[in-house]
Amino acid sequence: MRYSTGGVRDYIPNGCGGPDLPATIDEVRGFQAWYSFAGHTRVTTWENGDVWGSDFRDGGDNDPSGGSELPEIYLFAGHGSCQNPPNATSPDFIIVCGNFGTPNTVNVGTQSRWGNGSGNLQFMFVDASCPMDLVSIGNNWFPVFRNLHMATGHSGTSNADALDSPDRGTNLAARTAGLPGILSWLFPQQSVGDAWMDVGTIDIQSGCSAVAIAAGRTEAEAIDRRENERITDNRPDPVPNWFAWKWRTA
């Protein structure tokens, strides 16, 4: 499998609203280390101003220099949006601070579409706090699934937020990559959904939830993907007739 990462630490030095998030760089580099160790192929590993809003918007996401549709797997670590509290129509945002490809704010529900056209993305990992709010998951995340298999994120508020930590992305990689040789079973390889339930709840505040969502032609297929799909399964792309998601709250 091919993977990319986008980690944004610098918001204030580049003139964007802050604060800066120093752990995002350790997080994406830890993710890269595990995935490369497992034999996956890195596509792009942009950091800071080289991560662009257009990378996550339909149309720009196929940019050969770093769009999120180039690989099968993408991890974003940076700021997101946290309404306080969100409602069913609240948008979810990914927030970058790019040198190009502005605007820096991406409305996931209206602007992101993954797996369509020539897009390759199967697994979208968002570690940006709240841009997967449970109350608005239908408006914001059902539409993005074209041939996308699964996505992960958080649901919360500004009082129930995710903290800047390298551990979620690094541990997600360690648990999903499928390590080589005997390590493949000495260290457990988990499904994407189970791994995110375990690691997505690391360093988050009480009331914040780790969320994993999958799509399928049938309800049974969507649920099976949510529970069992591993990045190494090589499953075919789903037809997004049904969505199944799960969450664990800290």
């Binding site: 220099s65 700021h79 649920i223 199944a244």
Partner: protein, 274 residues
């Protein structure tokens, strides 16, 4: 590099029976014709049903029954919390986790839900349901939190161990002592550095160590400072770890990382700098 056959044979002979006994005592697993494996800082046993492995450099255990899970043959526990926590206490004793270090034992509920696409913008939602309950143990030593230590236990529907992780590393006394010093400094008004665009939300002394899956076991005392941004609607709060002088600590490692190979800035073909 894999162990040489002679070494592997010796290790298998020495460790297999002990691993099987430990798996039986802690998780209740009874192996049938298990395969022994060892690599890097781990060793373990597996058969068609069970996997039991442990780190050689830490009190860290992984145990899995392949039949466990919401869709698994043995299902997942959704019953009384008290039954699950009682089972966890028994396992903690069997794993030789010091009782005095168990700061909290609680049950986390994992929920599931599904929805059908009726049209492009219309969806029919089903009601949420409980997928499983997980017992989690948190750790503190002398009242000092050890942030990354945990026990996580998922039981089958019948109450047997389905998934167990124990990550409760031995801690150097010098680190515990320094954490106590940091706790005193926090009580006496330790002031962490300011973070641009944010204000301090909370401050706590504790102990940080490497993750359960990894090739290092670093342990360090630190003051953890959580900040909230000036625009609270922007999510992911800054969190820094400082030493006694208010300097950022070197974070515990899990795997060797490296900087990107190219440091040349990304160029846009058709875009103007923003």
């Amino acid at each position: 590099m894999p162990a040489k056959p002679t070494a592997l044979s010796y290790l298998a002979r020495v460790e297999s029976s002990e691993l099987a006994a430990t798996a039986s005592r802690i998780a209740g697993f009874k192996f049938r014709k298990p395969e022994f494996g060892t690599a890097a800082n781990t060793s373990g046993l597996r058969d068609a049903t069970f996997v039991f492995s442990r780190r050689l450099d830490s009190r860290t255990i992984f145990a899995t029954d392949a039949r466990y899970g919401a869709l698994g043959k043995l299902g997942a526990w959704t019953g009384a919390d008290k039954t699950a926590t009682s089972t966890c206490r028994r396992i903690l004793r069997a794993a030789k986790v010091p009782v005095a270090e168990i700061a909290k034992l609680d049950v986390v509920v994992e929920w599931g839900r599904s929805a059908k696409r009726v049209s492009e913008n219309e969806f029919k939602f089903r009601e949420p349901y409980v997928l499983r309950k997980i017992v989690r143990a948190a750790r503190a030593v002398n009242g000092i939190p050890v942030w990354k230590s945990y026990v996580s236990l998922g039981l089958t529907a019948g109450g047997d161990v389905g998934s167990l992780e124990v990550h409760w590393p031995e801690l150097p006394s010098a680190v515990i002592k320094e954490a106590g010093m940091l706790q005193t400094l926090v009580k006496r008004g330790f002031r962490p550095p300011d973070v641009a665009g944010a204000r301090l939300e909370s401050l706590e002394a504790g102990i940080l160590h490497s993750s359960a899956i990894g090739f290092y076991m670093d342990v360090v005392a630190a003051v953890r400072a959580v900040y909230i941004g000036e625009r609270p609607e922007v999510g992911r709060k800054p969190m820094w770890y400082f030493n006694r002088l208010g300097e950022p600590i070197v974070m515990p490692r899990d795997i060797a990382t490296r900087a990107p190979e190219s440091t040349a800035p990304r160029a846009a073909a058709d875009a103007q700098p923003s």
